[in-house]
Symmetry: C2
Subunit: 396 residues, 2 copies
């Protein structure tokens, strides 16, 4: 065996990827984003020939845009300044508040990702770079030095839908080494989402790990299903191949009708507390709609219900036994005294009015619920907040 070969090997193995990176990006050594100690952030982009480089993201003041659906907030933008070696740079004038932020660059009008940041979130069919300013509530979104749960992508059979389907299951730290039974939170995504949405955009594993480590939440299993019953799995994870994701979901009763298949699989394959007091269901937007109807359809199944920016109202065109006799079913559900019925929404959410009407209905009937209102609209920032508020109230 030749020792000089080993030296060469090591030199190559260490040098080659950075060489390759230099060849591709011409920007070896560029750090972006750089989060400074005072929580100001510097963005850098290597583009020697560019005329204009901007950064756009939700850390910047929003701009109002007009759409056929009304006025919406769009992310603002800021210009980078060209420095030496063709590296453009922008530093936020003020420290950023703790939060998980999204951003992209716009180079001469072309939206591009940050080549120095490999962290992207997919929201339906859009990818965006992310970074986290830690501290306050956002420290729940970070991976901290605490015991970590297991995150598994699991396939189950749904006889009702006649499909094998994929779900994401979080089991808390210690689950494997104990004989204990655990309560389960069923956590549902919105339209266009899938079984990857809550774990990626929602930072569910991090929020659970951190809340449990702090003693602020009970150790629990979290089951993240796929709310589009036409599909087996998230885009790219089924035999449909690497398809372009679309904004689809199921609001036809099929999700509600087939949900007992999910419960049965989980109760059969995990050490769960197989009763109402050991089960919670919550969802965002369409997932809030599902949570409302599933919990009402099966009034002995869940003691905890969370509606996050829920799409509340079924239409008269949707024919499903699930949406029939809604008032009677709600009456039955609330007569059985669920331990928590939690409604959360942002002040500028386009679904605010529907939620207001629904709360009025609950009030008129004397049905007990808890209401939590935030600023902002129909965005993941709010759903991470709602999850981190909801989870500590469960199973106590």
């Amino acid at each position: 065996m030749k020792n000089n070969l080993f030296t060469l090997v090591l030199a190559f193995l260490i040098a080659a990827p950075s060489f390759a990176q230099q060849a591709i990006w011409g920007g070896q050594g560029v750090v972006s984003p750089e989060i400074h100690d005072d929580n100001t952030v510097t963005f850098r982009f290597h583009a020697p020939k560019a005329v204009k480089v901007e950064v756009t993201g939700d850390f910047l003041p929003t701009a109002k845009i007009e759409t056929p659906y009304g006025q919406f907030d769009a992310p603002g933008s800021a210009q980078l300044k060209k420095g030496k070696n063709g590296v453009w740079e922008y530093t936020t004038p003020e420290p950023l508040a703790p939060e998980l932020y999204s951003y992209s660059f716009v180079v001469d009008g072309l939206k591009v990702f940050d080549p120095n940041n490999v962290y992207l979130n997919r929201d339906v069919s859009s990818l965006t770079n992310i970074f986290i300013i830690g501290g306050d509530r956002a420290s729940l979104y970070e991976v901290n030095d605490v015991p970590h749960g297991t995150v598994a992508r699991v396939w189950y059979n749904s006889p009702t839908l006649n499909k094998n389907r994929r779900m994401t299951v979080y089991t808390p730290a210690g689950y494997e080494n104990s004989g204990k039974r655990y309560p389960v939170l069923y956590l549902l995504h919105g339209m266009g989402g899938d079984e990857e949405a809550w774990i990626a955009l929602g930072r569910t594993a991090q929020i659970l790990d951190n809340l449990i480590a702090r003693g602020e939440a009970e150790p629990m299993i979290v089951v993240m299903t796929n709310g589009n019953t036409m599909k087996e799995a998230a885009p790219g994870e089924s035999s449909e191949g690497l398809i372009k994701p679309a904004s689809l979901g199921s609001m036809d009763g099929s999700m509600e009708t087939s949900f007992p298949d999910v419960i049965k699989f989980i109760d059969n394959n995990y050490r769960t507390i197989k009763k109402k007091s050991g089960r919670a269901i919550a969802g965002l937007s369409m997932g809030g709609f599902h949570s409302l109807h599933i919990s009402k359809q099966y009034p002995d199944m869940f003691d905890y219900v969370g509606l996050f920016s829920a799409a509340i109202v079924p239409g008269k065109d949707v024919k499903s036994p699930i949406y029939e006799n809604s008032d009677a079913k709600l009456k039955t559900q609330f007569a059985k005294n669920p331990k928590l019925y939690w409604i959360a929404i942002g002040k500028t959410d386009f679904l605010y009015k529907g939620n207001e009407d629904f709360r009025k209905k609950l009030d008129e009937n004397g049905y007990k619920y808890t209401y939590y209102e935030t600023d902002g609209g129909h965005i993941w920032k709010n759903w991470r907040i709602y999850l981190s508020e909801f989870v500590p109230m469960l199973f106590k």
Copy 2:
């Protein structure tokens, strides 16, 4: 409850994401890549103001590039043609052979991802779009309509390294519903990789699902560790935060010394066959180096060893008991007749000579091994081939 609200809600939920996409990309409806029935592929990019748009990727004839480390193959490139509505287009003149391919666009000199393709692979610190041409061996890389195993990200404790560490564990379809014990393949990545490398770039779950469904491989557990003992987890998955990935690895004996911690955790937490005939170890590049030394250090641990493009030779500067008395340890290992000692490498791999020298050594000593040679070099295409060749030979 107002039915007209529901209609509005649905309209928004369906329309908004595509609206947002249109606003951002100006290219609503652009499909890229489009794989035609004859396996030609069309790439499209919306850039009305661009002067030149190219696609670069490993589906194009390679270009030779000179580096301080010798001559290497670089991906070729092809020019897109500007069509109506500012959409540029390129169609491959010939059908592409079945394979998992990587590509990017280059717009006026700026490398950018395909905004219409959300599928990216991360290789150390570089992201690249991917697509798959199915058929032949590449059908093993696709998600097919077969029973799927579970893929879990699991944390274990390594007393030797005094760290909690993350691994990826594949359990085959049916594992949850049986009381059976399963054999285990330990599958190790190369320098700069981590516990995500084999599952993402290596398509391990797809290859195993498909081989098992065809009856060509035994159902087995696959354990993908992190070979950088300084780290707890892949970039972004530890308390280091969303750091920029670097090309690091451990070739100092620590991976080998701490490997029994991995075995112990797996044997304690999964229904495994806890003996030599129920264990295989294989790795690529640095992971081949690890597999060589781990299997030699613990000669009663593994009956199956796979060296994929292995970095063979330890240097004289590396002081570790692991690398001492290598010849005597090899002798002991082979005296115990491992069922399979498999060496695979590509003809143009820069590690070819080291492997050739190692095989000579094995030949001189009459140690039995199997050799598998392919075209090409130190690339994932080869490692997917080696995995799909190696797995069917295990545990039979």
